[in-house]
C-alpha cells in the first residue's frame, strides 16, 4: 500500500506540474458550458433584413415598424426594385427580404386582400425556417388586431405545453453531452496518454521490474484522473444547476452512480487504448478519432440521433457516450427512475466489462 501511494503521489506531481494542460482540462468544460448557456440559443436576435416596399403607405409602414421593433430583426437597407434583391443577398449580410405589393393598404381596405412576399436566404435552411416563422407570426398578429370587434369564424385554439424544458433552452440539451465528452476527455484520453508516455520514455520497464505489480501500476495511473474527472463533473453540475438552472428532477444518487459507471467505461477505454499504443502520439490520435469525434458527432450530444440516416443510427449504438447521454437526460430533465434506464445501464456495464477483459488479454500478450 505504501508503495502504491508513492506511485500515486508521483502521478499527481506529473499532472499538477503541467499547468497548461491542467488549465485546459478545467477551462474547457467551463468555457463550453458558458458558451452553450449564453451564446448558443434557439432564438433569433438582430437578423439583418431588407424591405422592398412598393406601396409606401401607412399600413406597410405600420407592419414594417411592428416587425422591426420585435427585436428579432434589424433593417439593413430599403430596396427600391426587384433587381436589387439578388445583389443584396449576395453581399451576404441580409438574410431575408420582405416585399409589399403596390397599393398594399388600398387593396387591404377595398378588396380585403393584400399580398406580402417573404424571401429567405435558405442557404441556411434552419435559419430560413425560423425567419419565415417569426415574420409571418408578426404579420398574423397585425392581422388579428385588424379583426378586433368583428364577428369571427369559429376557431380552434392551440395550447402548447413544453414538457421538461419550458423555455426551450439549448443548455438543457447540451449539459448531459458535455458531461460525457469531458469525462471521456479526462478519463480515457488523459489516462491513455499518460500510460503511453511511460512506455515511450522507457520508464514502464522500470516500473514493471519493480515490486509493484501490473495491476497496481494501472490503477495508480488511473486514480488521479478519476479524481480530476470527478472534480470536473462536479463543476459542470454546479454551473448547470446554479447558473443555467438546469433541473435535476430525478435522483441525484442515481445520477452519480450512473456517472461513476460511465467514468469506469471511459477509464477502461483509456487503458485499452494504452495497451495498443506505444507512444503518446498514437494514443492521442486513437483517442481523438475513435473516442472524441464519435462522442461529439454521433452520440446525440449536439445533433439528435433520430434525425440521422439509418447507417449512422446503427453505428451510434456502439458509442458509449450515446447511452450515457440518454441516461443523464432521463434522470436530469425527465426525472425517470432506474426502471426506465435498465437497458442503457446494462449496455454500459457490458461495454465496460468487455473493454476490461480485452485490455487484460492485450496486456498479458505483451508480457509474454
Amino acid at each position: 500500500m505504501k508503495r502504491f501511494l508513492a506511485f500515486v503521489s508521483k502521478e499527481f506531481k506529473h499532472i499538477l506540474r503541467d499547468y497548461r494542460t491542467l488549465l485546459i482540462l478545467f477551462g474547457m468544460p467551463i468555457a463550453q458550458i458558458l458558451l452553450f448557456g449564453f451564446a448558443i440559443t434557439n432564438e433569433i436576435k438582430d437578423a439583418k433584413i431588407a424591405i422592398l416596399d412598393f406601396s409606401k403607405d401607412n399600413t406597410t409602414q405600420e407592419i414594417s415598424n411592428k416587425i422591426l421593433s420585435s427585436g428579432y430583426f434589424l433593417l439593413y437597407k430599403n430596396l427600391s426594385s426587384t433587381r436589387d434583391i439578388e445583389p443584396a443577398f449576395k453581399e451576404g449580410i441580409i438574410k431575408e427580404v420582405i416585399i409589399f405589393e403596390p397599393e398594399f393598404g388600398k387593396n387591404l381596405e377595398k378588396s380585403k386582400l393584400a399580398n406580402i412576399q417573404i424571401i429567405a436566404d435558405a442557404s441556411d435552411p434552419n435559419l430560413a425556417n425560423m425567419l419565415i416563422g417569426y415574420t409571418s407570426s408578426i404579420i398574423l398578429d397585425y392581422q388579428k388586431d385588424l379583426l378586433k370587434g368583428k364577428t369571427l369564424p369559429p376557431i380552434i385554439n392551440t395550447d402548447i405545453k413544453m414538457l421538461f424544458n419550458p423555455n426551450l433552452k439549448s443548455v438543457f440539451m447540451f449539459v448531459p453531452g458535455l458531461m460525457a465528452v469531458i469525462l471521456l476527455l479526462v478519463s480515457a484520453m488523459m489516462t491513455s496518454i499518460s500510460i503511453a508516455k511511460e512506455k515511450e520514455l522507457g520508464t514502464m520497464e522500470i516500473l514493471l521490474v519493480s515490486p509493484l505489480n501490473p495491476l497496481q501500476i494501472i490503477v495508480g495511473k488511473v486514480v488521479p484522473y478519476f479524481f480530476i474527472s470527478l472534480i470536473n463533473y462536479i463543476i459542470i453540475i454546479i454551473l448547470a444547476k446554479n447558473v443555467f438552472l438546469v433541473p435535476i428532477t430525478g435522483s441525484i444518487i442515481l445520477l452519480i452512480l450512473e456517472s461513476v459507471l460511465f467514468l469506469l467505461t471511459s477509464l477502461s477505454l483509456g487503458i485499452l487504448i494504452s495497451t495498443i499504443s506505444n507512444n503518446q502520439q498514437t494514443a492521442l490520435m486513437i483517442s481523438i478519432s475513435a473516442l472524441m469525434l464519435p462522442a461529439i458527432i454521433l452520440s446525440g450530444y449536439i445533433f439528435p440521433v433520430e434525425n440521422m440516416p439509418l447507417p449512422l443510427q446503427v453505428i451510434s449504438n456502439i458509442i458509449p457516450a450515446k447511452w450515457f447521454i440518454i441516461i443523464v437526460r432521463g434522470i436530469m430533465l425527465k426525472g425517470v427512475s432506474f426502471s426506465y434506464i435498465v437497458t442503457e445501464t446494462a449496455v454500459l456495464a457490458g461495454m465496460t466489462l468487455f473493454f476490461v477483459l480485452l485490455s487484460i488479454k492485450k496486456f498479458k500478450i505483451r508480457l509474454e
Binding site: A6, K10, L201, I206, L207, V209
Partner: protein, 244 residues
C-alpha cells in the same frame, strides 16, 4: 544447483514464433561479480536480461536469480534486483529529490532510510543543494545517468541489471559511471551489464559474447584475449563474429 552462484541459467531459451531470440544459454554468476553481456544489436542480450528480471517468461530451460525461479517466483526476484534500462529511466518533470523519493517509495523504503539515502546520494554525486529542487530536465545527461544508476540500487538489491547504461554518454562520464559500478560491486552487489562498447568489456570480471542468441564464448577478458590472440576486446569480438 549450488547455492554459491547468484544467477544460474541452464539452456535458457526464448522463441517468438519461429524466431529463436535466445538459444539455450547456460552460465552462472558469482555474488559480487561484474558480469558483462556483450554482443551486437539484436544478438539477444536484452531478451535474455528481460527473462532474468521476470519481465518475460522463458520458452524452455531453467534459471534462478538470487535463488528464485524465473518461472514461478518473479515477484520475489523483483524485490531483490535493481534495473536500469538503455532508455533514460528517470522522470524529467520531477525534481531530483522527487525522483529519489519515488523510486525509494515503490521499493518500500522507510521514511528515515529514504532521508539518509537521499543525503548520501546527493553527497556521492556531488549535486549542489541548489539543484536538488530543480526539475531533472535542466540537468546534463551525464548527471542524470549517474543519478539513474544510484536510484537503481537505492534499495540495496543483491543484483543490479544494467541494460546499455552508458549509451550516448561522453567518455569521461562513462569512466565515472564505471567507478560507481566498481564501488557497488565492492559493496557486494552483483552487476549484470549488457553493452556493445567493447572497451567497457575490459572492466568486467567475466564476459560472455553473444552471437545470434547463443553464447559464443565466456571467460575473463584476459583469457579471451589470450585465446583469440587479440590485443583488445574489440578484436576478440570481431574474430568471434567472423570465426563462426
Amino acid at each position: 544447483m549450488q547455492n554459491n552462484f547468484i544467477i544460474e541459467s541452464e539452456n535458457l531459451t526464448k522463441k517468438f514464433g519461429h524466431f529463436t531470440a535466445v538459444d539455450a544459454i547456460s552460465f552462472s554468476v558469482k555474488p559480487g561479480e561484474i558480469f558483462g553481456f556483450l554482443g551486437a544489436n539484436g544478438a539477444g542480450k536484452t531478451t535474455a536480461m528481460r527473462m532474468l528480471c521476470g519481465l518475460s517468461i522463458p520458452t524452455s530451460g531453467k534459471a534462478t536469480v538470487a535463488g528464485f525461479d524465473v518461472y514461478k517466483q518473479t515477484e520475489q526476484i523483483k524485490k531483490n534486483i535493481g534495473y536500469m534500462s538503455q532508455k533514460f529511466s528517470l522522470y524529467d518533470d520531477l525534481t531530483i529529490t522527487e525522483n529519489i523519493n519515488f523510486y525509494g517509495g515503490i521499493y518500500g523504503l522507510s521514511k528515515s532510510k529514504l532521508k539518509e539515502k537521499t543525503e548520501y546520494l546527493l553527497d556521492l554525486l556531488k549535486i549542489p543543494e541548489m539543484h536538488t529542487g530543480k526539475l531533472l530536465v535542466s540537468l546534463p545527461l551525464g548527471w542524470k545517468q549517474k543519478l539513474a544508476f544510484s536510484v537503481a540500487i537505492i534499495h540495496e538489491p543483491k543484483i543490479v541489471f544494467l541494460d546499455e547504461p552508458t549509451g550516448g554518454v561522453d567518455p569521461i562520464t562513462r569512466r565515472q559511471f564505471w567507478d560507481m559500478i566498481y564501488e557497488a560491486s565492492h559493496n557486494g552487489v552483483t552487476v549484470f551489464v549488457t553493452t556493445h562498447y567493447m572497451d567497457e568489456a575490459e572492466y568486467c570480471n567475466r564476459v560472455s559474447m553473444m552471437v545470434d542468441g547463443r553464447i559464443a564464448s565466456l571467460d575473463t577478458p584476459y583469457n579471451l584475449k589470450k585465446e583469440y590472440n587479440a590485443g583488445n576486446m574489440h578484436e576478440v569480438f570481431v574474430k568471434i563474429a567472423r570465426g563462426r
